[in-house]
């Protein structure tokens, strides 16, 4: 089993969890996910997920201009995003408990 396949299903909740701690721009979110142990996460997958969560109304977004280089686009969580994160956390906990029990029992 490939961890990247599993990651696809949980990238939303992972990104929401990272942004819940602190607002972040695209690569910053990638770096924090990798630092948490999700080494295989792809840049473009994270940027796309941020965009999709923003379109879904779970994130806010603002642009921070830079004097020296290109501007950065920051994403932050909002109430809807927090509600989504809570719901998905519950689903994940139930799912992982089920899977743990199943795998330990066999």
């Amino acid at each position: 089993m490939d961890a990247t396949q599993l990651l696809k299903g949980v990238l939303d909740v992972a990104v929401l969890a990272v942004v819940e701690d602190e607002d972040g721009y695209g690569y910053d979110v990638v770096r924090r996910l990798r630092a948490s142990g999700l080494e295989e996460v792809g840049d473009a997958s994270v940027y796309g997920t941020l965009r999709r969560l923003y379109t879904a109304g779970a994130l806010t977004s603002y642009v921070v201009p830079s004097e020296e280089g290109p501007h950065r686009k920051y994403y932050g969580i909002n109430a809807e995003g927090r509600a989504m994160l809570d719901a998905q956390r519950k689903v994940w906990n139930e799912f992982s408990t089920t899977m743990n029990n199943l795998l330990e029992a066999s």
Binding site: L11, Y25, G26, Y27, D28, V30, R31, G42, D43, A44, S45, V46, Y47, G48, T49, R51, R52, Y54, T55, V63, S66, E68, G69, P70, H71, R72, K73
Partner: protein
Amino acid sequence: MTTSTVTPEIVSFARGVRAALADLPADEVDELTDGLEADLAEAYAEDLQRELPDPVAYAAELRLAAGLPVRTKVRHGALGAIGDSLRDTRRDIGIAIHRNPMLSGIADFLGTLRPVWWVLRAWLATWLVAAFFGSEQGYWFGGTGWFFVLAAFIVVSVQLGLGRWQGRGIATFVLIGNVVAILALPIVKAAADNGGSDRYTIGFQDGVSAADPEQVSGLTIQGEPVTNIFAYGADGNPLRNVQLFDQSGHPINLFGDSTEDGVPCAGESQDCSELVQPATLETGQTTFNLFPLGTVPSQWDDSEGASVPIPGAKATYGPAPFVKVPAVMPGPKVQPTP
């Protein structure tokens, strides 16, 4: 936050990514790739060994994660889609024809007649434009200007037919134009066959004018319907109750054959609030040639299915154009032919 330099490779990579997303709306592409250069610059500043991936694959990953549809062939709007499906149908028919030797021979023969079609469709286009401006006349056009338009359309049509002009949408335009032209042919024929006679038929009497235009022809002067006649004597004073006949002895009837269907409405009002007052001859016949014609206020009667005079209303003459006209000077007398 680290500040990093955006290298030319990153700029070119980002351009490649945006190009691979070009089928999406422009603002969606902007939203999706906003800050891309900064993110990439930072990522590659951290790890100098990293190589830039394939921009198309990168764009596909971005698109998939953002929940956007996979890249589709860029269509040029609804018109392009119609053109594509028509072209597909034509291709299928073409294949079917070329499998059959007889149909194939007919198709080749028709192919040699294509220039005739090029001229025909140019004429059709001119006719349709002229008809839009009301300048069509039978199968042709009123005014020489339209023949210059026809000449210009023939040039355009032949150039298109020879494939001299290539470009996005031209093939679709020609295809749709041909279909419209074929559909328009019977319309042009019907209009041209009906045309002419009803050009000068003025619908001064709604309801009756739905009948054959040839039979509704009342009296008109220079295209304007004559709704009443006022006679004046040699002394210049108005005459009342004058019976008028034409050279053949027919009573002058301003309303033509429409009076056979009943009493015509006076004037051009839509609601028919006034009817013409017919006169009755000593023979008992009803006539409409007693001038000036009187009118009587009317109302719609459901049981009759027609407008009827309001009971008790009196017929009046319409306002005469002149109270008195200049009297005639005595001159040589004109004798009637014995």
